[in-house]
């Protein structure tokens, strides 16, 4: 390289400033947007390293996958109940009269390149999305991360869960297959069961009696535009509040209410979280490749007069279906009106109560514990036995209801009578939560007793006075040990014993 060229290059670099092209671009941006300071702070933002903080990320990334695969599906799906004669590549259906929604979904599965994979990924990522939200919420609940100042974000998160469940329902209703159509029929009847306004609500939402031609176009626009927009907006608010209020963290070495300990946004967290996006997408794609989900061509098109065996909804609706199965037939007549309690209680009032308690929980807990402080350090679940027991109770009850949504399959599989299974589930759904509360409470209390087992205890310096009294002074902790060792255990101030030989007063040191 000649001297002249080298000088030229150096001059060029100098003209660009210390950080080259990137620096120059950032400067140009800063001139216009003033991003340097905030950008630096954002790059330095600290993310706690605990694995449980990853659960929310699973939800976020599943949503990304849902949107990408969903956009693909909208290119080919036709949201119409108009009847067409199917002449596609799936021969068993050839010549059948089906709706355009059904036929276009079968086409996506068999005729569109990559279509089946995208459909199955879309369905799987929705199941994962709702599941990740539930597990993430359980983490937030059991560790007390919802406490002041984060009550608003708890509320937003809970709303996101409800919207996710709702949009999942709208989504799997769209293909107009036999199973999902039955689901819509049930949803319609549930709505109808609401006293005073039920029939009007059902007629307005479904555009008349069921089945009608308005359902699919309406569900489509709700599913692909309105609910996703609301979810996106709330997701933005959820993340904004998270950045604004900063992360919670478990107590530990050097972690206080006044700081956050972990890895910085750039580059550590960014690398890990981008990698995690890829891992979640990869696993979803593998599920889409190897685990068949919602094979609508096997169910056949919807027909209000047909039905198949083992009709189960997607998992997140299971608890509602189970509640409807095991609730007794308590229809109620009053003043010339029917109140279908056998539907209203399990499908409207019960979920209403559960979700309202969840919404109000941060406030209720503030009220009953009289704890109005700001908390950034998390609880261990065993630190709060009552809260943990309450959470476990609800989860046990919901799980039992979920299992109850498969009474027919259980009875068939284990060769039991349906009657026995039904009564078994009724009893378990009531008894197990009642057992779960004291059991969890007791377990938490027991766990509190073994706190710090395996950790080193700070040694005491025990000195004996001339009178025979013992004085225990904890040793100063090592610099590196702060917050990591247990408190020194007090030593009895005086021990009654006859000294075998007189000891000198003073201090004995024991090596540690």
């Amino acid at each position: 390289m000649s001297d002249a060229a080298a000088t030229n290059k150096r001059a060029q670099r100098q003209a660009q400033g210390r950080y080259g092209m990137i620096g120059k671009t950032l400067n140009e941006l800063d001139d216009r947007l003033g991003i340097a300071k905030g950008g630096r702070t954002f790059m330095d933002k600290i993310f706690p390293d605990h694995w449980s903080f990853m659960l929310g990320e699973i939800a976020l990334y599943s949503f990304v996958i849902i949107m990408v695969t969903g956009v693909f599906l909208t290119f080919y799906f036709i949201p119409s109940s108009a009847l067409v004669t199917y002449h596609g590549s799936y021969l068993p259906l050839d010549g059948q009269k089906v709706t355009q929604a059904f036929s276009s979904t079968v086409n996506i599965s068999f005729a569109v390149r990559g279509g089946l994979l995208m459909r199955q990924m879309h369905h799987w990522s929705c199941d994962i999305f709702v599941g990740a939200i539930v597990v993430h919420m359980a983490r937030v609940f059991f560790t007390g991360a919802f406490r002041k100042p984060r009550e608003l974000n708890w509320t937003i998160g809970l709303t996101l869960l409800i919207l996710a469940i709702g949009n999942g329902f709208f989504g799997y209703s769209l293909p107009d297959d036999l199973v999902s159509g039955t689901g819509i029929r049930i949803a319609y009847s549930i709505m109808e069961s609401i006293p005073f306004v039920g029939t009007y609500m059902a007629f307005f939402i479904f555009g008349g009696n069921f089945p009608g031609t308005s359902t699919i176009p309406r569900f489509f626009i709700l599913h692909v535009l309105i609910l996703p927009l609301v979810i996106l907006g709330l997701l933005g608010a959820h993340l904004f509040l998270l950045v604004r209020q900063k992360h919670t963290q478990f107590p530990g070495r050097g972690r206080t209410e006044k700081n956050v300990v972990g890895s910085p946004m750039f580059p550590v967290f960014m690398a890990k979280t981008t990698g995690f996006l890829f891992i979640v997408s990869g696993i979803t794609a593998l599920l889409g490749a190897f685990a068949q989900v919602n094979p609508i061509w096997q169910f056949g098109p919807y027909d209000a007069a047909r039905i198949s065996y083992a009709v189960q909804p997607d998992w997140y609706m299971g608890f509602l279906d189970g509640a409807l199965r095991i609730f007794p037939s308590w229809s109620f007549m009053a003043f010339g009106h029917t109140i279908p309690l056998e539907v209203t209680i399990p499908a409207v009032i019960f979920p209403g109560i559960i979700f309202n308690i969840a919404y109000l929980w941060p406030m209720l807990e503030r009220k009953f514990t009289k704890d109005n402080e700001i908390h950034h350090l998390l609880d261990r679940p065993s630190d709060r036995p009552k809260r943990t027991a309450a959470g476990v109770t609800v989860l046990v009850m919901l799980s039992m209801l979920h299992i109850a949504s498969s009474t027919d399959v259980i009875a068939n599989f284990f060769h039991l009578s349906l009657n026995a299974v039904l009564w078994g589930m009724r009893i378990l759904t009531v008894i197990l939560p009642i057992v779960a509360y004291p059991l969890t409470y007791k377990l938490c209390k027991e766990l509190q007793g073994v706190r710090g087992a395996g950790k080193r205890k700070t040694p005491n310096i025990v000195s004996r006075t001339a009178e025979g009294a013992y004085v225990a002074t904890p040793t100063p902790a090592y610099g590196e040990d702060v917050g990591h060792e247990l408190e020194a255990t007090p030593v009895p101030a005086y021990i009654e014993s006859e000294p075998e030989e007189p000891l000198e007063s003073g201090v004995r040191t024991v090596d540690r």
């Binding site: 039920g198 604004r244 890895s263 990869g282 190897f290 198949s308």
Partner: protein, 313 residues
């Protein structure tokens, strides 16, 4: 978090010298880790290339998913490992600033809302009232076209089906049912003629027809003429949640709803025997006309399907 990391004191990122041990990678043998990560990236790239090729030739869907998934998985694992083992190991600490402002700032903010705003409103109470009322009424009225145009009012539609005096019972293809069509113990779905392809027919008119015996069959007192030649017909819409009651347990003579396992005894007027359904399935009174066609004597004597508020029997 590793035990070793747990034991280091966290520090702030700003003002950290470049040779601080916390900026060193976490891996004990970074060279090996780097090699492993390189392998995952190469594998990921190969799988992505494979996905591209398979997509190009329109291969089987599972091969597309397998290559795409494996590619993403390997790249993801590589990235996570890079972040975990080869980037500054920390731990780092960030100070948390109190979100709440000083009392003076809060008061100033509240003062603007309460005092400045209050003065404006108090001085013009009438205007404020009119504006508030106007906006309220506007938002209420604006809801009207939005909500009311969504669907028709239920009116009487939930109380009646299309079965009338003399309606012919037809199967799904529109063929009239004749006296010899069903053997004892068999079952079929029928509709009032002309509705078998309509939405309403599907929704409320669907009726399950069972032949219980060879003689006229009485399911309940007062229904002596309803089951000619052993043919009995019940609404197929479950009284629980409206699923079609499509399964017939021939030996027990039960109709079973596959959705929530309500069971109805067909011999005694479809009284629910098991499950959550609260009411019997309404029975359709039948007769055979002179040419042997099955017809209905009248509509159902009560609304079919699940319960709703306006239902009064």
């Amino acid at each position: 978090m590793s035990e070793e990391q747990e034991q280091r004191t966290p520090v702030s990122l700003s003002g950290l010298s470049a040779d601080d041990p916390r900026l060193q990678p976490a891996a004990k043998n970074p060279k090996t880790v780097e090699r492993v990560i390189a392998i995952t990236f190469v594998l990921g790239t190969l799988f992505f290339a494979g996905f591209g090729a398979l997509f190009w030739v329109d291969a089987k869907p599972w091969t597309l998913g397998a290559t795409l998934g494996a590619g993403m998985f390997f790249v993801g694992v590589g990235l996570v490992a890079w972040g975990k083992y080869l980037m500054p190991r920390g731990p780092f600490v960030e100070e948390r600033h109190v979100l709440a402002n000083s009392d003076a700032d809060r008061d100033a903010f509240a003062a603007v809302i309460v005092e400045r705003g209050g003065v404006v409103v108090k001085r013009r109470k009438m205007l404020a009232g009119l504006a508030g009322g106007g906006l309220g009424i506007f938002s209420l009225v604006a809801l009207f076209p939005l909500v009311r145009s969504l669907g028709p009012l239920p009116k009487g539609t939930l109380f009646h089906t299309d079965w009338q005096k003399g309606s012919y019972a037809v199967d799904q293809n529109g063929r009239r049912v004749n006296v010899g069509d069903l053997a004892v113990g068999s079952i079929m779905t029928v509709f009032p003629e002309g509705t078998q392809d309509s939405d309403r027919g599907q929704a409320v008119d669907q009726t399950v027809l069972i032949r219980i015996s060879n003689q006229n069959f009485t399911t309940q007192k007062g229904r002596e003429t309803w089951g000619p030649m052993g043919y009995v017909a019940y609404s197929k819409v479950c009284t629980h949640l409206g699923c079609p009651v499509g399964l017939y347990e021939q030996q027990l003579q039960l109709l079973v709803c596959p959705c929530h396992q309500s069971m109805f005894n067909v011999t005694n007027g479809a009284i629910p025997q098991f499950g959550p359904a609260p009411r019997p399935l309404p029975q359709l009174p039948l007769y055979f006309d002179a040419s042997g066609n099955l017809r209905s004597q009248a509509d159902y004597d009560q609304p079919v399907g699940p319960g709703f508020w306006e239902r009064h029997s």
